[in-house]
Symmetry: C2
Subunit: 184 residues, 2 copies
DNA sequence: TTGCTTACTTACTAGTAAGTAAGTATATTT
DNA sequence: AAATATACTTACTTACTAGTAAGTAAGCAA
C-alpha cells in the first residue's frame, strides 16, 4: 500500500472521529512515522487532502450503488443502514457528511461544494429507493419518499452522535424504529 | 450586562456555530474588545467556560420545562421543536448537544460528563411527554415513547446539520414529517 | 553517465492556541 | 487614610498549526 493511500485512509479515520479541525498533519505524520512535509508532498494543503477524501468516498458510494442494483429495495436500504452501523462499530465515528457539516463554517469553499454534491447524491439515491420500493409494495410509510429519506438519514446521523454519549443501545433503538416505520 | 455574561453568551454562539475546537479565547476577546487574559480572569480554562455554558443551558432547560408544565402535551412538543427552529434561524447553528457530540473526542472528561447529564435530561423529559401525551390521546405513533423521542431528537439534530448543506427546505420537510408521524 | 523524476527529510516560517505572572486603575470596606 | 477586592491590561510562555524552501537518496531513461 502506497504512502498516499495510507495518508488518505488515516486522515479519513481521524476526520470521522474528530472532525475537520480536530486532526492535523502532525497526527498523520506521527502515526505513519513520516515527516509532516511528506504529507504536503502528496497533498499540498489540508483542503486538497479532504477534497480527496470526499472524492474517494463519493466514488466508493457510486460503485456501491451500482453493485447493489441487482438487489431488491429492502436489501439496498438495509445495506445503507449497515454503513452507519459500521461507523458505530469503528470507534464511534461520525459519518462523513456529519463530520464535515459540524465543521461547515471552517471548511474551504471547494470542500463545502464537494460535501454539497455528496450529500445531494446520497439523499437523491435514497429517496428513489424508497419511492420505487413503496411502488413495488416493499415499503409502507407516511409522507413523501424524500421526506422519509431525510428523516432516516438525519436520524442515523444524529444517532451516531448520540451514540457517543448515550451508548449503543439508543442507536439500536433508533435504527430498529426507523426500519419499523417503513415496514409494509 | 456584565462582561462575564457577555463572554458566556458569545462563547455559546461560537460553540453552536463552530464546535468546541472551532472557537478561541482570541475570537471572544476581539469581539468584546477586551484582552485574552480578561477571559481567563472570569473562566480560568476553556473547560470551565464550556462547563458554565452547559450548566447555563441545563438550568434554562429546567426553567423552560417548569414554565411549560401547565400546557397540554402537544404544545410542549411544538415548543421543543421550536428550539431547533430558532437554532436554524440563528446563523445555521447546531444544537448544544450536537456541537459537543461532534467534538466529543476533544472534550475534557468533566465536559463529557456534563454533556451526558444534559442529553439524558432532554431525552427523559421528551420520552415522558410523548408517553403521557399518547396515553391522553393527543399523540399516536408506532413503537415506544423512548424510541420515538430518540428519532425526533436525533433527526432534528441531523436536520440542523443537513440544513447547512441542503438548505432550510429540507429541514422543514423533516420537521413536518416528524410531526405528522406522531399525529393522532 | 548524465539528467530527470519520485518520494521523501531537514529545517524552517508565520500564525495561532491556551494559559500565566505581574502590574494597574477603580471602587469598596475598615 | 489605608487596606482590600474587583476587573481588568501588559507582556509573556509553551505548544501546536498549516505550510514552505532547500536538500537528498534511489531509481529510471536517453
Amino acid at each position: 500500500m502506497q504512502t498516499r493511500d495510507k495518508i488518505l485512509e488515516l486522515a479519513e479515520g481521524y476526520l470521522l472521529q474528530q472532525g475537520y479541525g480536530g486532526f492535523s498533519y502532525a497526527d498523520i505524520a506521527k502515526a505513519l512515522n513520516i515527516k509532516n512535509a511528506a504529507i504536503h508532498y502528496h497533498f499540498a494543503s489540508k483542503e486538497e487532502l479532504v477534497l480527496a477524501i470526499i472524492k474517494n468516498a463519493h466514488s466508493r458510494f457510486e460503485h456501491w450503488k451500482k453493485h447493489l442494483e441487482v438487489q431488491v429495495h429492502w436489501v439496498r436500504v438495509s445495506r445503507f443502514i449497515k454503513i452507519y452501523d459500521n461507523s458505530c462499530d469503528k470507534s464511534d465515528s461520525m459519518c462523513l457528511v456529519t463530520a464535515l457539516c459540524s465543521d461547515y463554517a471552517l471548511l474551504p469553499t471547494k470542500v463545502q461544494g464537494a460535501l454539497n454534491n455528496f450529500a445531494k447524491a446520497i439523499h437523491q439515491w435514497f429517496s428513489e429507493i424508497l419511492a420505487s420500493g413503496r411502488a413495488a409494495g416493499e415499503f409502507n410509510f407516511e409522507g413523501s419518499a424524500s421526506q422519509r429519506a431525510s428523516i432516516i438519514q438525519t436520524s442515523l446521523m444524529g444517532g451516531l452522535l448520540i451514540n457517543r454519549v448515550m451508548g449503543r443501545s439508543q442507536y439500536e433503538d433508533i435504527k430498529n424504529q426507523l426500519i419499523n416505520d417503513i415496514q409494509s
